[in-house]
Symmetry: C2
Subunit: 397 residues, 2 copies
């Protein structure tokens, strides 16, 4: 049910022919009149045309629908890319009988290849006709590229519902861009409040995710609120707000876990938690450096603890830390204490075995303390496997 | 002949038993009385004990010899590590009948494991006895860890000679730390001049090198000048200086090429050149971001041009660039012009084929222009292959 779990939304997913595989590749989500929207976008300076367009429309304050095409990223396509994105949304708005500037667009697929506008414009009437309050699953399937499974999540608050769908297996998968996330709620939230919920509940969760340290040109997270469930607007500082925030966070967390589990070649999920940093930003940066280190990622693949590699990543993260204050635990096993690997680790007394067991599971918990600061952060990553190299190396256009 | 090519140096390499393989693992290089030295050290905040010791002694201005042990990195070993490094150099100085503070130390091997001091101190007399003006090759072999071949280089200036040896296959290879580089000359250069030659001729070359983006706890580059070839000191601004600088640069360049060619799992060398940036620092950072991108590295492994991946890396390097000003060429083939991938690339008219040929060779030249600035930079990296994952993932302690 995903994005249509909350009341006030309709969705669809059809085959327009963008993908050579013949699988569904054109999706539409639309909210009832009065729907508000908020968004988060890639920090890559190279941004796809649909990112520029959606960002601009959200800034202007109006958005209640989004079309998603899967197959072409419409990135590095120059002015033609901007014209195509604009035309696609204008024609979609016309079919939907809504104002021309309320339709957003997300694109995912090959970078540089122009949008196949004939196929896209030709398929729009069928896409709009397919809209249904039960269209969530079709939507979730049609946004996929090399994902092996759809990612859907739902959560309930006090009288409100939250739903979501996502796609993405690498920040750029084989020549295909993008993580796209769509979260909906039938709560009534005005625009700035909704943006705050996106920043507080979704941004930290999706920013913690890293498959390969690469930032796509198309990454987009959209949050829509239809207001269909309740008559009163949800205001900050109320219990209703807290309940809605928790439900949105729950959907976001579930989608993040599903994304990393389906990440390219990922067999072991790395959960890195950092504490004791001078700021949350510093802690996040350290966590990301560890999660992105090829040496830590291959160690996770091999099931070998290798505490020296984790120390190496902490020390070269760019954050000022005192090496003698660094502690590292794998699961419940301390493998670095005060910057030093305990001599027992090399003495074969069971410490290394315990660390190896913690490194061998499907989820590897790495807890790092870098001092007495209040800053905490985390990153969610995966191992670096033969399959990652195969997927990204053997793929040829 | 490597480090003993210039006059005024003796070297040795013997088996002390640090490595389980039984290969030679203990090396010594010493210059005649009056030898000056300069050094460059890892920027990782987590620094091995021998790095701290060597840096301190060089700062104090006296250094004419270095012992190198291969098998244990003496990093993350706490105060015991500092005591061990100090003891090793004091005893070496005693055997060499030199002042106690002129002996430096480099260590490479497992992080966290203590130095085997019994074996080390026991082997020192034999190591000193083995010193020979022809000991360069033995030295070059004994410093290796998982390197498959020794790295040696020589160059001639006007009446002077330069020699060098290096080791390192990953910034940290399977649980083994370090790139170590030793360059010698028989020119006479006072200490600050020698440090300037190291900064100008060696630093940019070795900083451009990246196997996996990981910075070791032990990286060290040492430059020694014996003065044995000429009576007069080489002064800055003279033709002798320029000739010496060129010879040092030639040895450095050769060692860099040998290091990347022997890098873990490297089958294709990536040569990234960036121009048009606002500063050399910016250009270097962009070049390194492209050379370290797992998606660019796997594309190089697969021989697939994937210009979108290069753009992605440029846009997320952290350097402010104008995406519309980015040009990218693979070999002689333009694959991005003004931020746009030419539509011809997808039209099957030969552009993609030419790019694929440029991406398939043993050396892949990527030239990136990011605007009209004067900043230039470069990075030398390698592809990401199954072998990299095997070497770093299947290795278990």
């Amino acid at each position: 049910v995903s994005v249509t779990y909350p009341a006030g939304f309709r969705a669809a997913g059809i085959t327009a022919g963008f993908k050579r595989s013949g699988r569904s590749d054109f999706a539409l989500l639309t909210g009832d009149a009065g729907t508000t929207a908020a968004g988060l976008f890639t920090t890559n300076l190279v941004q796809a045309a649909p990112v520029r367009l959606s960002r601009e429309r959200l800034r202007a304050g109006r958005a209640g629908a989004v079309i998603v095409n899967s197959g072409q990223a419409n990135a590095a396509t120059g002015e033609q890319g901007d014209r195509d994105a604009r035309a696609a949304t204008l024609v979609a708005a016309d079919h939907l009988r809504v104002d021309p500037d309320v339709v957003l667009q997300c694109s995912t697929g090959v970078i540089g290849e122009p949008l196949p506008m004939d196929a896209l414009l030709g398929a729009l009437p069928a896409l709009v006709s397919a809209l249904s309050p039960d269209g969530g699953p079709d939507f979730a399937r049609a946004i996929l590229t090399t994902d092996t499974v759809p990612k859907e999540a739902t959560a309930d608050g006090d009288g409100i519902r939250v739903g979501g769908a996502a796609k993405g297996v690498g920040m750029i998968s084989p020549n295909l861009a993008t993580m796209l996330v769509f979260v909906t709620t039938d709560a009534a939230v005005e625009r700035t409040g909704l943006q705050r919920l996106a920043e507080e509940q979704l941004k930290p969760r999706f920013n913690a995710l890293t498959v390969d340290g690469c930032t796509s040109t198309n990454d987009t997270v959209l949050l829509f609120a239809s207001g269909a469930a309740v008559e009163r607007e949800v205001l900050t500082g109320t219990r209703a707000w807290d309940g809605l925030a928790a439900a949105i966070g729950e959907v976001g967390e579930s989608l993040v876990r599903q994304l990393i589990a389906d990440g390219e070649g990922v067999g072991h999920v790395l959960l890195i938690e950092v504490a004791g940093a001078r700021s949350d930003t510093d802690a996040d940066r350290i966590a990301k450096a560890v999660a992105d280190s090829p040496l830590v990622k291959t160690a996770a693949f091999g099931g070998d603890p290798n505490p020296g590699r984790i120390l190496q990543a902490v020390g070269s993260s760019g954050v000022q830390v005192e090496p003698g204050a660094v502690d590292v635990a794998l699961g419940d096993t301390a493998v670095v204490e005060g910057g030093t690997i305990p001599p027992a680790y090399f003495a074969g007394d069971g410490l290394a075995d315990a660390a190896r067991r913690a490194m061998g599971g499907p989820e590897i918990h790495v807890r790092i303390s870098v001092g007495g600061g209040a800053g905490t952060g985390r990153a969610i990553g995966g191992d670096l496997s033969y399959d990652y190299v195969r997927i990204n190396g053997e793929y040829t256009t």
